[in-house]
Symmetry: C2
DNA sequence: GTAGTGTTGTTGCGTCCTCAAGTATACCGA
DNA sequence: TCGGTATACTTGAGGACGCAACAACACTAC
């Protein structure tokens, strides 16, 4: 009776389970590594990385949330932590008073840089051990079709228009 | 300076980020769906599914934890909840008094069955919309090489030896 | 038997994140 | 100009999960 479970969605279930388990395992491993390297989490790293890559080192908090796959409220708390540690700061938007920018600080760039050295090395090693370049490209392509996998590309163009109106905050 | 980030691990980072974002999006969507369908989470579903597939409907808690990618302590609390709801029960192992089995109940099978109808349908649809069968098989193959993605296969053979010594618990 | 070591499971405590609700601002049609 | 609606962000409450520490049991070697 339950064997009907598998006939209903055989490969799709396997794909989802493997994706979830791989995610959990990698997340745990990288979190420990990053915690040791710079006292940050994987999500912190992603946030800092995206800010560092953005023009002016700043992004709207909501775009940042979409980009890293957490909710707006999660982003508020995450940035509270990073701001407390001096890795990011706030910047008001003169054009739309609803929005606040998150801007990476010099300290933030330093921490990101040092975390990146170890993190990216082991990330690269993990994939290089298991995939050829072609296979990795295939994997990236396939993953890109899943819901929520993209998000990132649309934000930077929006940012380019409005980042001019950013005022570095004093607080 | 930060552009070195990408040259250090270009595709690997993209793969990891896409995997994480896809996981977050799917997890959220399926959790809401399952919550509505049977008041359970994605992890609950996986636990029930694995128990239902196991011989005798039971597995060692530790194997279950490995299989679904959470820690032993996470599994203790998860099973506390499922036991409270009457979906699983405990069973002692007469051969090794350290281990406790988790066994799915009839109620558990009913809840699993009804949750599976909606969940597997949308899971199947999600993948069918985006991938051909070949592509899905490719994806499953590639994901299977990632750390933590497997785990499942080794446990059932162990189970077959010791499940004979299971005593349904009264509590 | 008995000490040393490994494994299973539980518990205390903390973290990260979500949902729901609330506030402040922007935009739009009458 | 004035509601009505949408968006950005914050806050309160709670859930899911990890780590570290611990107790109970098993296995090994002496």
């Amino acid at each position: 009776m339950i064997s009907q479970l598998n006939s209903a969605a055989p490969e799709a279930l396997t794909a989802f389970v493997r994706l979830a388990n791989a995610h959990a395992a990698m997340q745990r491993a990288f979190n420990q590594e990053l915690q040791a390297a710079g006292g940050i989490t994987v999500t912190d790293f992603e946030v800092l990385r995206r800010l560092a890559e953005a023009e002016g080192g700043g992004m709207r908090r909501i775009d940042l949330a979409h980009a890293v796959g957490i909710t707006a409220s999660g982003m508020t708390r995450l940035l509270d932590g990073l701001e407390c540690s001096g890795l990011v700061m706030k910047a008001d938007c003169t054009e739309d008073h609803r929005v606040t920018y998150a801007v990476i600080t010099d300290t933030g760039r330093r921490v990101l840089g040092s975390a990146a050295r170890t993190h990216l090395t082991s990330l690269r090693a993990l994939f290089a051990e298991r995939f050829t370049e072609d296979e990795l490209a295939q994997l990236v392509g396939l993953l890109g079709r899943l819901p929520g996998a993209e998000e990132a590309s649309a934000c930077s163009s929006i940012l380019q228009q409005s980042v001019a109106g950013v005022t570095p905050a004093t607080s």
